[in-house]
Amino acid sequence: MTVANDQFTFLQELVYKRSAMVLSDSKAYLAESRLMPLARAIGISDTGEFVAHVRRSHDVKLEEQVVEAMTINETLWFRDKRPFDALRSHVLPDLISRKASARQLSIWSAASSSGQELYSVAILLEESFPQMRDWRVSLLGTDLSREMVDKATSGVYSSMEMNRGLPAAMLIRYFSQSGSSYRLTDTIRSKVRFQQMNLASTPWPSLPVFDVILLRNVLIYFDVGTKQRILQEARRRLSPGGYLLLGTAETTSGLSGEFETVSAEGAVFYRVKER
């Protein structure tokens, strides 16, 4: 027996309740592979049976593990919208004026999943900052999952994924048909680079400094000590005056005293405090 439809509905509700993340129906196929290790760990060899067990047991700890396993790659285009509005109206104009002589900009999506976050930035730059076309812009995405890095690199997305937050006008402009999927144009794909990296394994390998670090919806998976170490590493990779962006439900407070907040367009960015 595998995960049945009504069981997936239960998983969707559970994930929503615990993480405010909405698992799309297209993620049903993930249930099997994601939950198998958890099932085995408690001596159940069948995922359907495992879900039934979770449902009956009301074991909070177990529910949390299930949520983590299921949400781990969830992402969408221009996620939460406001941070991207703030990038457009505040963060990027500020960086452009400060870096006008060097004409270099670097942005890092530190848990890039299937790539929508970094590509959203690339599209935003293309749409709103044509004056930067002759700048040296480096856009790096990293993720723990090799599978996600490969998917991001391919730049190919299903219609279910395209539906999530991507304006149709951008679909037309920056994608072409590829079977029943959509493929990002080479103009955008050639601007970004993805590689594998484990944020939890500190100290990090040598990395350049970045003007913007997107560290979104990943700290939630770590314990306090790991969060602290990651924020400390991230701080060291921020260029002077650079911006750190976390997920909507995440914060540096209680984890690091070295950041101050900047708000714009209803989004909160973090910058290293001046001494």
């Binding site: 929503y16 405010a20 909405v22 799309s24 129906d25 297209s26 969408l76 996620r79 939460d80 919208k81 406001r82 219609s159 279910m160 395209m162 539906n163 999530r164 937050g165 304006p167 149709a168 006008a169 679909l171 037309i172 994608f175 072409s176 048909q177 029943s180 959509y182 909507t248 439900a249 209803g266």
Partner: protein, 135 residues
């Protein structure tokens, strides 16, 4: 705000209507094909938003968009195609005809809400709004 749902599937209209009601949109009108939709729009009041299927009997969704865009007085109406037509070329045609957005079937609830946010009909997709949607 007033929404017109144009789809020949009653089940689809009721699913979409249910999602709209969840996010506080109650002024919902329905039409089963493009012609009926055109009649509704002409009779008024003009909806703020029309969600339009493509393949329907009598008059299809694209022809509806073309017809309605001929009339200057309906220009304020926002149109989103909601259809299984998923080819890039079709999306280009629909936007060229005057649709503003495009949602590909099948879609989930959150995708519809994302699109309404893009169109400015619901608040930004922060925790609060999705909370409200799923409560």
């Amino acid at each position: 705000m007033r929404v017109l749902l144009v789809d020949d599937s009653r089940a689809m209209r009721s699913i979409v209507a249910r999602i709209l009601r969840k996010i506080g949109i109650f002024d919902i009108d329905e039409a089963a094909d493009g012609q009926e939709a055109l009649d509704r729009v002409k009779a008024g009041p003009v909806p703020d938003l029309a969600l339009v299927d493509w393949n329907m009997p009598v008059m299809n969704g694209l022809d509806f968009v073309i017809s309605v865009r001929k009339e200057g007085e309906f220009r304020s109406m926002t149109i989103m195609m909601v259809t299984t037509e998923n080819e890039h070329g079709q999306i280009v045609r629909a936007l060229a005809a005057g649709a503003h957005e495009y949602l590909i079937k099948p879609f989930d609830e959150e995708a519809l809400i994302d699109k309404l946010a893009i169109l400015g009909f619901v608040g930004n997709l922060d925790e609060a709004s999705s909370e409200q949607v799923h409560s």
